[in-house]
Every structure is written in structure tokens, then in C-alpha cells.
């Protein structure tokens, strides 16, 4: 209850601050405010996929079914966030580069991630037996995820990136205005909080389901 209210207030403040408090980025204009949503969404998508992958490995080691619930649930959350990140990214791309889609390395990676999990769900719905569904889809999630680092290496060699690295880059120093940075970090924290809140809710649902089954 506390977390729900706290996150609600926190995110409201982040939304207000992103429009009123933070200045627009130099050269990108007002549309740059979308990074306070786009980047955290992409981050949560990757986080959820990672947690999904870890649960897939855990399932194979223990074969206890709740890890499989967590794998598939995190894959669903990751897919929703990845879709939102793709859409916000495409809007941003259209406003700055004049095109919604151009096979930029990051666009390609998230597209492949969506494809992987699309196939993952297709596989799950093709198998009836509960245990087999869990085992085979976990194996597939691991195999598919392993190939992602290859993409990170290969794609930049073929397609040049248009991503606004000067503003958001990892290795170099952050070239953000102090106020931009504050809002950016708060938004990242807020979205991460939302993810963990959803994760916690889902865990409670999984536990309750287990208890109901145990009683029947």
C-alpha cells in the first residue's frame, strides 16, 4: 500500500518535472523531453528480460514450476515495456531524423528481442503439457538470449548509428544539464520502482495460486 502511494506521487512529480523543471536539450528541442520516458522504458524492458532469463536457468536447475511462471510473466512485462520503448523511440526518431525506422543498431536489437519473445510465446502456446511447456520454452529463452551479444557486435559494423550518443552515452561523461540529469535519474528510479512493484504483485498472485491448488 505504502509503495503504491509513494510510487504514484513520485511518478507524478517526475512527469511534471520532465515538462516544467528540466530545460530542453540543446539542438534537439522540446521533443527531447521524451528521453525521460524512452530510456527508462527500454531499461525496464532489458531488466525484465534479464530476470526472465535468470528464472529460466533457475527453472532448469530446480524444475519447480513457480520459476517458470516468473519466466513467462517477466517476458510479458518485458515485451510490453519493449513495445512502449519502441513506440516512443520511433516518435523521437521521426521528430529528429525525419523517419520512424532506420535499422539503427539499438532499434535492431530491440526488434530482435521482440521477435525472440514473440517466438517464445508462439512456442509456449504450441505445447500442452505444463512441464514440457516450461522446460522447452526455458531452453529456447536461453538459446535465443545468448545470440543477442552477437548482434551488438555485428550490427554497428553494417548500419551506422543515428542515436543521440552525445546526450546519453555510457563510456564518456554525461553531457546533461544538472536539472536534466536530476529528472532523468528520478525517472529511471521511478520506472524501476514500478517494475518491482509489478513483480511483487505477480509473485503474490503466483503464491496465492499455489496455495489454492494445494488446498483443492
Amino acid at each position: 500500500m505504502f509503495w503504491k502511494v509513494f510510487l504514484g506521487i513520485w511518478m507524478s512529480l517526475v512527469i511534471i518535472a520532465s515538462f516544467l523543471y528540466a530545460p530542453p536539450a540543446l539542438g534537439l528541442g522540446e521533443v527531447s523531453r521524451i528521453i525521460y520516458y524512452h530510456v527508462p522504458l527500454a531499461w525496464v524492458a532489458v531488466l525484465a528480460y534479464m530476470v526472465s532469463m535468470i528464472n529460466a536457468i533457475k527453472y532448469l536447475r530446480t524444475s519447480s514450476i513457480e520459476y517458470d511462471y516468473r519466466t513467462s510473466f517477466n517476458a510479458e512485462v518485458g515485451t510490453i515495456f519493449a513495445l512502449l520503448a519502441t513506440v516512443t523511440g520511433a516518435i523521437f526518431a521521426n521528430a529528429t531524423w525525419g523517419t520512424y525506422w532506420n535499422w539503427d543498431p539499438r532499434q535492431t536489437s530491440i526488434f530482435v528481442l521482440l521477435l525472440i519473445y514473440g517466438s517464445y510465446f508462439a512456442l509456449r502456446s504450441a505445447i500442452d503439457d505444463r512441464e514440457q511447456k516450461a522446460r522447452l520454452s526455458s531452453v529456447y529463452a536461453i538459446i535465443a538470449f545468448i545470440t543477442v551479444p552477437f548482434l551488438v557486435f555485428i550490427i554497428p559494423r553494417i548500419y551506422a548509428s543515428l542515436h543521440p550518443d552525445p546526450i546519453v552515452n555510457i563510456e564518456g561523461r554525461l553531457q546533461m544539464d544538472a536539472r536534466m540529469l536530476q529528472v532523468f535519474i528520478s525517472s529511471l528510479a521511478g520506472f524501476t520502482g514500478i517494475y518491482f512493484w509489478i513483480y511483487n504483485l505477480q509473485n503474490r498472485i503466483i503464491n496465492l495460486k499455489g496455495k489454492i491448488k494445494g488446498r483443492l
Binding site: S119, D128, A144
Partner: protein, 227 residues
């Protein structure tokens, strides 16, 4: 260690031998595999007609043909065992690793056999110019290795699903994307006549893809194979 390795090779070899004997009596996979490849090739050839293609287009077409015919042909290895009910007999006779190795070798030889037919045909119909033939052969070989290593475990997964129809290409495409992009790029370099040194990063990616996917498959195959 050495004796264990030898016994593994002998056991996997027995499986390979069995599959080939059965394949050449029934032509269960080979006919459809080959016809699928030839059909795709002829469609490409018709569509292109008299136009001149640059090396990028040639490389893409070659790999599109290879990818889709491999999806049609390589799915059979496990589905056949599942459908004919011979899975149990096999499962009770040997370890998952040997099954994977045997089926991998069978799929690889099948794919290379098809390539041996289809690549000359491609040159006959579309006559691309090749700058570095040896590099082309190496890229095709390394690409086939990675393609087969991945498809083998995925087709084992597909054989357990209730709906087997079109699942393999759906599952394989995102996993094989890095391999396909690199193979297309490598093939382009070979057609344009680049040297091995200039294509070294493509070759490295292809060989590490193969090694990583085969290792992971061997580790995970146990989970796919048991019921």
C-alpha cells in the same frame, strides 16, 4: 579420455549411419529439401530475369534460399523419430549428447549435399562473378556449421510441440539473425574479391557462433530430450 572420445564417435557414427541408410531408402527428407531449394532458386531467377544484380543482392538471395530450404529440410530429423514412435527405443539406448552429435552430423551432411547441388545451379542461372572463390567456400561452410548446430536443437524442441507445422522457422529466425547477417556480409566480401584478412572479422564471428551454439546445445540438449 581418448577411449571415451573414440566410443562417442563410434556411437554417434552408428546413429549417422542408421539415419543415412533410412534416408536413402525412403528419401524422406532429401527430396523435399532439394525440391524446396530448387523451387526457391527458380523463383529468384525468374524474378531477377535479365537484370544485373550487385554482390549484396546475390549474397542475400543465396542465404535466403539456404535459410528457407534448411527450415524445410532439417526439421525432419527429430520429427520423424517422434512420429514413427522410435524416440523411446533411441532414448533408452544412448545419452542425449550422442543423439545431438549424431543428428547434427546427419543434418550437416544433408545440408552440404543440398548446397553442392544448389550453389552450382545458382551460378548457372544467375552467373554472379566471384572474386575470391575459396573465401566463398569457407563462408558457406562456416555458415552451414552454425546453421545446423542451431537448427538441430531447435528441431528437437519443435518435435515435442503439438503444432509442428511452421514452428521451426519462427523459432529459428531470431536466433539465426546474427549468423545470417554475418554470412550475407561474408558472402558479399567473397563475391567482391576481398582477401581472407579483410573478411577475418566475419569469419571469426561465424566460427565463434558455431562453437558457442554447439556448446550451449550440448549442455541444454538433455532438457529437451527427456520427456
Amino acid at each position: 579420455m581418448v577411449t571415451r572420445f573414440l566410443s562417442w564417435t563410434r556411437q554417434a557414427g552408428a546413429l549417422l549411419n542408421k539415419d543415412f541408410k533410412a534416408e536413402f531408402r525412403t528419401k524422406y527428407a532429401l527430396n523435399s529439401f532439394l525440391m524446396f531449394a530448387v523451387t526457391t532458386l527458380v523463383i529468384v531467377s525468374f524474378a531477377v530475369g535479365p537484370y544485373y544484380l550487385d554482390p549484396v543482392m546475390h549474397a542475400s538471395f543465396i542465404w535466403i534460399i539456404i535459410f528457407f530450404s534448411a527450415m524445410a529440410g532439417l526439421a525432419r530429423a527429430f520429427i520423424k523419430e517422434q512420429e514413427r514412435g522410435t524416440v523411446y527405443a533411441l532414448k533408452l539406448s544412448t545419452t542425449p549428447e550422442i543423439i545431438y552429435l549424431g543428428k547434427f552430423c546427419f543434418n550437416l551432411l544433408l545440408l552440404l549435399l543440398v548446397l553442392l547441388v544448389i550453389i552450382p545451379f545458382y551460378f548457372f542461372f544467375l552467373s554472379p562473378s566471384v572474386g575470391n572463390p575459396l573465401l566463398l567456400v569457407v563462408v558457406l561452410l562456416l555458415g552451414s556449421l552454425g546453421l545446423t548446430g542451431t537448427t538441430t536443437i531447435l528441431s528437437a524442441i519443435v518435435s515435442k510441440a503439438n503444432v509442428k507445422g511452421n514452428l521451426l522457422p519462427v523459432l529459428a529466425f531470431p536466433v539465426l539473425l546474427p549468423l545470417l547477417i554475418t554470412s550475407i556480409n561474408g558472402t558479399r566480401l567473397a563475391l567482391e574479391g576481398y582477401t581472407f584478412g579483410e573478411a577475418s572479422s566475419e569469419l571469426r564471428v561465424l566460427s565463434s557462433f558455431f562453437v558457442i551454439m554447439t556448446t550451449v546445445s550440448l549442455l541444454l540438449f538433455n532438457y529437451v530430450w527427456e520427456d
